[in-house]
């Protein structure tokens, strides 16, 4: 571990390490996110018990659809709860067990496909929900046991790749075994969840997303959250942590390492399968590609962003990433988001370095000047239409937006901005500040002219960038504990 404290985080090691904690570890672990003057607030907040936070959170989430009657927003909220569940499950395997499971979304798929086969006209089986959902959780747990078996012999990279093979196997089977899984065309017309009285929970109510699914999902979320929380605070949870920190030492201390690994895999898989059944019941169809690499990376980004190993953290990660992906679908919203993120980033940087304010001002001027020059040379260079709204009009006067850019412009600008941004991370001092001005402007240009046109790859690019940047500057995420490898 490099022993330099990341910039911007204040280290307060005055109180000394807790009992039983290694001094060196404590020095590295005690890297605070908030400035020291918030320490009192932070300590107060830490004093609030976790169940109070959970109650508050769920209450806010329950009130949310009453305030916001739009079906689209409700559906996004529902998806967010699904992602929160997935992140909780993955957190068991990766965050607590320390096992890199790249086959995780296959269990999500297994849950969805199991529900699709047990409750749909595909085979004419219509099991009651109260039977099928526990059955699916069981199937998921068993599948998790099976995939967990390789972890007896393999660790680290090898385990990661075997689990990835498993995901690929799942994908190959669902795509090709057409009689059973419907192949690439999936399974359609899956039953919604049913209540014991024979009442069906319809996903839509008068054309608007029905709120009942959101509540069902939230109920499952609470159950899973509490169950995993209790599990983590038990003997098993402590054993998992010892497994994560040092499997060899744990084994030497008499921990049943292999069984612990299986249990972690199995718990994660059961949660994923449960989530999958909810997915299938709500959307009414399953396709192989819904459970592939993209979903895997999304869930991983959530867990890493929030802080792997911290339950509240991974939920927070899902709360950030899931709406973010939705916002990035829409050009107008993602334009605003870009500038908000830009200003936010500059403010954070500016706390450390006052010159950043000058950089921001210079960028603003730079943009207007460049825009004016471009318009003088050729009106077509600025003839692009960025969209509606007063904000878009500001952007129209600031960012050069060619009407029909030449084909080489997009790749050149894109590669250019990546190169410039990477260069800025290497440069120091005044040179860096000067280089930042054109870099930011080029970034805005690329966002406006290249990224907004194709939201589908663009939002995944954002996801990939978040993942890389997080790993490099803050691998413990927002709320996670900094892990230190003692060599």
């Amino acid at each position: 571990m490099s022993d330099s404290t990341p910039h911007g985080f204040h280290s307060t090691g005055a109180e000394g390490p807790a009992i039983g904690q290694d001094e060196w570890v404590a020095r590295h672990a005690d890297v605070r996110f908030l400035p020291a003057r918030f320490a009192v607030v932070e300590r107060r907040l830490r004093g609030v018990p976790w169940w109070a936070w959970l109650t508050l959170f769920v209450a806010v989430f329950c009130l949310f659809p009453i305030v916001e009657p739009s079906g689209y927003v409700r559906q996004v909220a529902f998806q967010t709860v699904l992602y929160m569940l997935l992140a909780l499950g993955l957190n068991v395997v990766v965050g607590w067990g320390g096992l890199l499971d790249l086959g995780y979304v296959a269990f999500y798929g297994i849950g969805a496909y199991a529900y699709a086969l047990l409750d749909s006209p595909h085979y004419g089986i219509h099991l009651p929900t109260l039977v099928s959902v526990p059955l699916i959780v069981l199937i998921g747990a068993l599948a998790g046991l099976v995939l967990g078996l390789p972890s007896w012999r393999l660790t680290g990279d090898y385990l990661a790749i075997v689990t990835l093979f498993f995901l690929q196997l799942f994908q190959t089977v669902t795509t090709n075994w057409q009689n059973v899984t419907g192949g690439p065309f999936g399974i359609l017309n899956i039953d919604p969840f049913g209540l014991p009285g024979g009442h069906k929970l319809q996903p839509e109510h008068g054309g608007v997303f029905a709120v009942s699914y959101l509540y069902v999902a939230l109920a499952f979320f609470v159950v899973v959250f509490v169950a995993l929380r209790l599990l983590n605070n038990s003997r098993t949870g402590r054993a998992w942590r010892s497994l994560r920190e040092d499997p060899l030492a744990a084994e030497a201390m008499g921990m049943p390492v292999n069984w612990l690994k299986l249990l972690a895999f199995s718990c994660g898989a059961a949660v994923a399968a449960l989530t999958g059944s909810m997915y299938a019941a709500l959307f009414g169809n399953v396709f192989p590609l819904s459970f592939y690499f993209v979903t895997l990376i999304t869930v991983y980004t959530m867990v890493i962003l929030g802080g792997s190993g911290n339950q509240a953290g991974v939920v927070l990660g899902a709360l950030i990433i899931s709406p973010l992906l939705e916002v990035l679908r829409d050009a107008d919203k993602s334009r605003v988001l870009f500038f908000v993120a830009l200003v936010g980033g500059l403010v954070v940087l500016g706390r450390r370095n006052r010159r950043i304010a000058v950089v921001a001002g210079a960028t603003l001027v730079f943009g207007f000047v460049l825009h004016a020059i471009a318009r003088m040379i050729d009106g077509r260079w600025v003839a692009g239409h960025p969209g509606a709204g007063s904000f878009a009009r500001f952007v129209e006067h600031w960012v050069i937006a060619p009407e029909q850019p030449a084909r080489w412009i997009a790749p050149a600008a894109y590669v250019g901005v990546i190169g410039a941004a990477l260069l800025c991370t290497v440069l120091r001092g005044i040179v860096r500040d000067v280089a930042l001005v054109p870099t930011i402007y080029l970034g805005a240009f690329v966002w406006e002219n290249v990224m907004l046109a194709k939201p589908e790859p663009a939002r995944y690019i954002v996801l990939g960038v978040i993942l890389i940047v997080l790993m490099v500057i803050r691998p413990n995420g927002l709320l996670g504990e900094r892990r230190v490898e003692i060599v």
Binding site: T172, I297, V465, M471, E485
Partner: protein
Amino acid sequence: MDQFIQLTVDGLTLGSVYALIALGYTLVYGVLKLLNFAHGDVFMVGTFAGFGVLQALGGPATPKVPIWLVITLVTLAAMAVCAALGVVIERFAYRPLRDAPRIAPLISALGVSFFLANSMQLLFGATPRNYDLFQYHGGSLYLRGLHIGGVTVPLLRIITIVAAFVLMVILWFLVNKTRTGKAMRATSFDREAAAMMGIDIDRVIVFTFILGSALAGAAGVMFSLRVPTNVSIGFIAGLKGFIAAVIGGIGSIPGAMAGGLILGFLESYIQGYVHGAHIPDGTQWSDLYVFSVLIALMLFRHQGLFGRPDIRKV
């Protein structure tokens, strides 16, 4: 018999592509002990770089320069682009994490892979790109060639196989006969000890990434001479290359070569002989067999054919 020869040639071509990809994995793994998930996507970028140069030279039907020069330039360009990309990835995504827990660079590599695949889709779209070299000169590259039994082995296949072997010989020479190669082997054996002996570890690692990525670029061109490329081949190609590296024993250079060929033959024969393994619409059951064999191999002999079992010292 004809089918057997056909499949053997196919397997040999496919295998040499896999071997080149596998070498990239193995080299990086040997030096950094890092599973470079992004390697498959570097390969994919290579296929596109080659395509770009091919178009710049006037396209396959009407090249401005002789065909041998076209193929050489396309390959060299792809190798150069990939090498540069590899260096950038190493510098910014892996180097800051060199001393982090082992899970960190793996996740960073996943991010890089995802980023590259989607960036290419953003810039160049999802349409497949076809090198279409058989258009050249009335298809002379495909119709002419060696006659073995009743089968014609196209010139293009022969070029691919020969080029792959030439590259492997060059690699073998670099690793075994030069000073830098010696430094690489030392680093791979024990990084800290090598650093204490005065070897510049950063330089060795950068050199390794250049070598591995350049080979991926060459593999990209050879791959695209067989089938059209698209932005999402990186994932599968990377998996296959990794499998090849594991079969031979990851970290071992002859292992990667042998592993690639074995995987190529395996895939080719399964597609040819196992009933229903290959359905013409592109869905491949053969992957299922390959992956199953692999999982079994990983479980029972994960050090591969040529690797040594890793002994953990405590």
